[in-house]
Structure formats: structure tokens, C-alpha cells
């Protein structure tokens, strides 16, 4: 009988003692975005916390800001993060981190040392996006209040995802992928940049939430190129797109091509699916590599009078689109080989897989080798559908 009494007793003891990992929901400060800057050899960490009662769908309290940011300094990231607890009302909780913003200054100095904590600590996952703040420190970016998606980080997260999916000059790069790039010898890292328009101070105010045309906005611009972990420069939109074509990151995008007869008017071709293959063509006498893009497309918009019912027209459009894409790819390759003079396009990995023996010899000095390699590019675009009209109504309008 004694045992029957004893078992629940033990359970009770365990229960009373065991609250080690027990964290009640309302005691968590849910961190959704984090920014890292470096000022005078000290890291400055900015953490964006959600204010649940201001965000929740049912009993949302619109008078309060949906997000709060806290900032602290420290010799290491962890020290800074722990210092945040001094100012934050609740213990910050990181698994729901959506986005990590790296300040431009830190990016120029090299940010690798700052990232170890994020890959080591079990509280951090590796599926949040990483972006670089262009022309601003990271904390300015995190302080902006944005409409529609109340949580700024969620806004940035979704925006990056959609633009990467349907427009393609940006790059939705998760932390895990970034680490993979940083450790690869055959590819240098690139990170999308985020930029602030307007006055950073204005963005912190609730008014920014209450207008239909907010004065301060966040927008993604171009791609930052890193050598190892140091920011070396920015790609413009054309090069960024070219980069995405090369690394097979394009899911869907728009190619605007000039009308065949009328160079001033344009028509849009919507790429539905683009598939890129990087290949090593030959090793002798010199290594030669190639980029092959195969894309399926639809006609999305026609801004001039052309006869779409003729196969020849479509062929011409295909050719123009191919040319346009090719130009972008060339510009990206040119940027890599001539401007930056190192390989952020991943040709090194192709070489690694194709010629492991040769790779062993050049691994250490690949960037030098890369500059002299001939890279061919070939693009094929197949236009299959015209949307729900054949010729545009523009054709019928008298001149």
C-alpha cells in the first residue's frame, strides 16, 4: 500500500521541483528581428520584440506600437544580448526570429565573428533571412513602423520572399545557406540589401502607421557582394538579376523587351520557370565553362501593335527576351570577373564537382584562376501562351 501513496508523492516532488524549462507564454519577449552593428570595436545589437496585445487579431489595442526595439552594446554578441534583458521587460525569445539585419559598417569590416553564436545557440534556428542595411546602421531599419503587416520583421520577411519569388533581383537567403556559402571555397557569399527611404526618425512614430502613403519605407535594393565575410560592393538591379539567373534562383520574373519595330515601346514577357545549368565544357587548352538557361514564358503585356498570331513574331520576341536575359547574365559575369575579381557565382563549386583533381591544385587561388576563365552563356526562351487575348486591342485602334 505504501508504494501507492509514494508514487504520486514522488510525482508531486518532481512536479514542484521541475519548472526548469517551463516558460509561460506571457513572460516571453518574442524577438522577430535582430540587427547587428559595430561601433568602436563593440557590437551593438538591436532586437525587435513583438507586443502581442497590440498585434493579436481579436483584442488588439491599436493605441500601442506593435513592435518595440531594444539596443545594447557588448564585446561579444552574447554579452550584448544578455544586456538587452536589462532594458527589455521580458526575457527575449529567439526561435521566432524572422530576419537578421547586418549594418553596412559591420559588413565592410567582416561579420563572420558575430555569427557563431547564432549557429551554436540552440535558441536560434537557421531559417531566418539575412539582409544587409544599405547606407544605414541596422537599428534604423528595425525601428521603422510599417502598415499592413504590423510586425515590421514579418513585413520584411514576406516582402523579401515575394519579391524573390516573382521579380528576382533580390535573394531570399536564409542563415543556413549563408553559412554554407561562407564555408564554401568555391563560392563567395552575397546578401540582399535593404534600404530606408525618408527620415529614419519619422519612421519610428505611430503616424507612419496611420497614413496611406507612409513617409518612411523599407525597400530591397540590389545584392551586396562579399569576399569571405567582407562587403566589397553592390550589384545594380541588372547584375542582381543576372546573378539570380546564374545561381538558378529565378522562379518567376518579368523581362521587358522592346517591340520589334518600335524601339520606344515595350512588351513584357513573364518567365514562369527558368532552369539554369552551370557546366564545365572543357579543360584543354584552358578551362571553359558555360551557363545555360532554359526558360518557359508567357506574353504578359503588349504595348504596341504586333501580330502575335504569327509564329515568326513570337520567335522574334523569344530572341529579344533571350538577348535581354543574356545581357544580364553577361553583366553579372563581367562584374565578377572584371570588377570584383572573385567568384561569387559558384563556378568554383562546379569546377570542384567536375574536376576534383584540378580543383585540389587551384582551390587556394581559385579567385585568380576564375578571372581568366572563359564563360559562355546560352539562353533559350520558349513562349507558349499569350494570356487570354491573341492580338492586342491596340492593333485595332486607328493610328
Amino acid at each position: 500500500m505504501k508504494r501507492i501513496v509514494l508514487l504520486p508523492l514522488c510525482a508531486l516532488v518532481l512536479f514542484l521541483a521541475g519548472c526548469w524549462n517551463n516558460r509561460e507564454l506571457e513572460t516571453l519577449g518574442i524577438a522577430v528581428a535582430m540587427g547587428i552593428d559595430k561601433i568602436d570595436h563593440e557590437y551593438v545589437v538591436t532586437v525587435q520584440l513583438v507586443n502581442p496585445s497590440a498585434v493579436s487579431a481579436r483584442q488588439s489595442d491599436t493605441s500601442r506600437a506593435p513592435i518595440v526595439t531594444y539596443q545594447e552594446k557588448g564585446k561579444t554578441i552574447f554579452e550584448a544580448i544578455r544586456r538587452v534583458t536589462k532594458v527589455a521587460p521580458r526575457k527575449t525569445y529567439y526561435p521566432h526570429l524572422k530576419i537578421l539585419v547586418i549594418g553596412e559598417e559591420l559588413a565592410k569590416d567582416g561579420f563572420a565573428e558575430a555569427l557563431d553564436l547564432l549557429s551554436r545557440d540552440p535558441e536560434f534556428r537557421n531559417d531566418f533571412y539575412v539582409v544587409v542595411a544599405k547606407d544605414h546602421p541596422a537599428d534604423d531599419v528595425l525601428n521603422v513602423l510599417v502598415p499592413v503587416e504590423k510586425i515590421a520583421a514579418q513585413n520584411m520577411f514576406t516582402k523579401l520572399q515575394t519579391s524573390a519569388d516573382v521579380f528576382a533581383p533580390t535573394l531570399a537567403l536564409t542563415f543556413g545557406e549563408l553559412i554554407k556559402d561562407l564555408t564554401s571555397h568555391g563560392k563567395h557569399a552575397v546578401i540582399t540589401g535593404i534600404q530606408l527611404t525618408g527620415d529614419a526618425k519619422e519612421g519610428e512614430k505611430m503616424e507612419n502607421l496611420q497614413t496611406s502613403n507612409p513617409k518612411v519605407r523599407l525597400k530591397y535594393t540590389g545584392i551586396a557582394v562579399f569576399k569571405d565575410d567582407k562587403l566589397k560592393g553592390w550589384l545594380n538591379e541588372k547584375e542582381s538579376k543576372g546573378y539570380n539567373y546564374i545561381v538558378d534562383n529565378v522562379k518567376s520574373t518579368i523581362v521587358a523587351v522592346p517591340c520589334i519595330d518600335d524601339k520606344k515601346r515595350f512588351l513584357s514577357v513573364e518567365l514562369i520557370d527558368a532552369d539554369t545549368k552551370l557546366k564545365l565544357n572543357t579543360m584543354k587548352p584552358k578551362p571553359e565553362m558555360s551557363v545555360t538557361v532554359k526558360a518557359d514564358a508567357n506574353i504578359a503585356e503588349v504595348g504596341c501593335a504586333i501580330d502575335l498570331t504569327k509564329q515568326a513574331t513570337v520567335d522574334q520576341i523569344e530572341e529579344l527576351a533571350e538577348k535581354d536575359i543574356n545581357a544580364k547574365i553577361r553583366s553579372a559575369i563581367k562584374a565578377a570577373q572584371d570588377e570584383f575579381k572573385f567568384d561569387f557565382l559558384g563556378f568554383g563549386e562546379v569546377m570542384h564537382r567536375a574536376e576534383p583533381g584540378y580543383w585540389k591544385k587551384v582551390e587556394k587561388k581559385w579567385d585568380k584562376e576564375f578571372v581568366d576563365i572563359t564563360i559562355k552563356s546560352k539562353v533559350t526562351v520558349d513562349i507558349e501562351k499569350l494570356g487570354k487575348r491573341s492580338n492586342s486591342f491596340i492593333n485595332e485602334m486607328g493610328d
Binding site: N21, N126, D127, K180, T183, H352, P356
Partner: protein, 374 residues
Amino acid sequence: MLEKGKISVRQFTILVALYTIGTAILIIPSILAAKAKQDAWISGLLGLAIGVAMVIFYWKLSERFQYVNLIEILEKCFGKWIGKSVGFLFFVCYVLLLATFVLRDIGDFMTTVMMVETPIEAIHIIFLIIVLYGVKLGLEVFTRTMELFIPWIVLLLVALFLTLLPQIEVTNILPVFENGMKPIVQSSFSFLVFPFLEMVVFLMIIPYVNRPQDTKKAFMLGTIMGGGLLIFISVLTILVVGPTETARSIYPTYDLTKTINIREFFQRVEALMALIWFITVFVKLLVLTYVSCLGIAQVFELKEYRIIVLPIGLVLYVLSLSIFPSISFLIEFTPVYDLYAFLWCAVFPFVVWLVSLVRGGERNKSGTARTESG
């Protein structure tokens, strides 16, 4: 006989398969990828092949002695006293030690990635209580329980595979044979030692299968199923996470499940997936604890093994807390351990085999009548 229960051949297969997967599933990708990198699958297959050969050897050893258990084999080989002492050493220095490692593995895992603030003691106590309860219930009951677990493991693994399918990057396992054979062989040795040589403990369980002569196929099948699964998981990890990250990760499979993300909806399920290795680690620890209790009880000729389950659990608990100070110690110790395990699991049975060959010659002369009394 200390154990009166009998298990079926099918249950034996399941036991072997789950035992192979246990704990290994958590860390094997990083062990395989550490040296062999993207060629992990080759060293995996190599390790599996040698592993199956070893398993057949263990079975032959058991067959040679008419399927009596390990202690009786040793007694027949070396005589009563030497046999018993060697057996005692084997159970204390190898099986019990292995059990402490397994227990510590689950504790370390929990306190490293899932419940950081929980004291490791609490984790160990909870796990041990259930394991000891299982050991007390006996072989028959806990093998039946294993059968209950199988569908869950299959379900979770299929879910794991399907959800990771979109993230596979085939280029991750290229190029093949980049660094030649040497690292592949080195990795496969670790792989051989880690799950396959540990099969030696089944020498204590084969006697309790209802048709021991049929266990050869079951033993091999279980090993191949378990080993195949480990290779599959390793390849999957390398395909999704990449060889370098896999090698650097302490719990690569957990990292693997962390990457599951289907349309932002089905994600963050690693805690559920952790159930797979809870189950397999549970099975492994159960078998090891059971075997050490049975072995020690037999060495001392006790009437039943159940009586010493709790004190052995106590020893296990203390040892598991003080066996090594940190993970770094463990990582450094691994090559030594490989050798140590190799001595116990490969060299030791081989010596037994040799001795039995020498003595077996005599036995044949004196006729079959003496075989039973040995």
C-alpha cells in the same frame, strides 16, 4: 534459465533493427561525414558490409555452442572460473559502460538542444525509471512493446523523407571519391564500431528466441534494415545540409529536421521528430541494461535477474553523470573508444572462437555425448 520468456523471430529482427538505429541515428551522419565528407554513403555501405559479416560471425559463434548464452559459452570455453571472470569483466567493462554512454547521450542531447535549463540528472532519472521498469517486466514484454513502436517510427521517417524532398540538392554528394579511399575506410571503421560491433550483446538474447536456428536470417535482416536506415539518414542529411555542416554539427539529424519547411505551414516540427530517437535510444538502453543485469545475475548464479535491476540502475545513474566531464572529452576519446570497443567486440569473440576450435577438436574425438556437458 534466468529468462523464461521466449520471443519470436520477427520480434528478434525488430529488436536488432531498433538497437542498431538507437543513438547512432542522432550522430552517425557527422561521424560518417567527418572524414569521408560527401562520400559518406560509400563508407556507410562498406561499414554495413563488414558489419553484416561480423554479425554472421556472432551468429556462428552462438550456433557452435548450441545457442546457449554468452556466459555459458565462456564457461564451456575457459572453464567455470576463468569463464565467469572474463564474462564479468565483459559485462561490467563493456556492456555497462556502453549503457552509460547511451544514457549520457540522451541526457546531453536533451540538455544541449531541447531543454537547456533542465538539469541532466532529472532527464536521466526519468529515462532510467522507464528503462528499469521495462527491464523488470522482462524480455517478452519489452520486445512486444517494440512491435508497438515500429509503425510510429516508419510513419515519422516517411514523413521526414517526404517533407525534406523539396530541399534535396543532389550536387551535395558530388564529387565522388574526391579524397581517395583512405578517409572512406577510416569513416567506415567508426561506423563499423559504433552500431555494428555492439551487436555482440545479442549473444545473450539469441538463446531466448523460440527458434534460435532461424535467427541467422533475422539477425542479418535486422542489421541491414537498421544499417540501411542509418546510411539513408546520413545521405539525406548530406543532401540537405551539406557535408561540411553535417561534419561540424553535433546532432546533425536534429539539424536536418529543423530544415523541414513546407509552405511556411509544416515547419518547426523537430520536437516531434525527436520521438524517433527517443524510441530507438530507449530500445538500445533497454537491451543493454537488460543484458548487463542478466549477465551479472548469471555470473553470480542468482535465481533471477530482476532483483539486481534497481542497484544496477543506481550504478548506471551515477556513472552516466560522472563518466566524462564534457562533450569535448568525448570527441577526443572517440578514437580510443573505437579501439577499445574493437577489442571487446571483435578480438574477444575471435579469441573465444579460436579456443573453441582448439578444444572443439578434442570434443569431437570424445563423441557427441559430451557436447551438452561441455
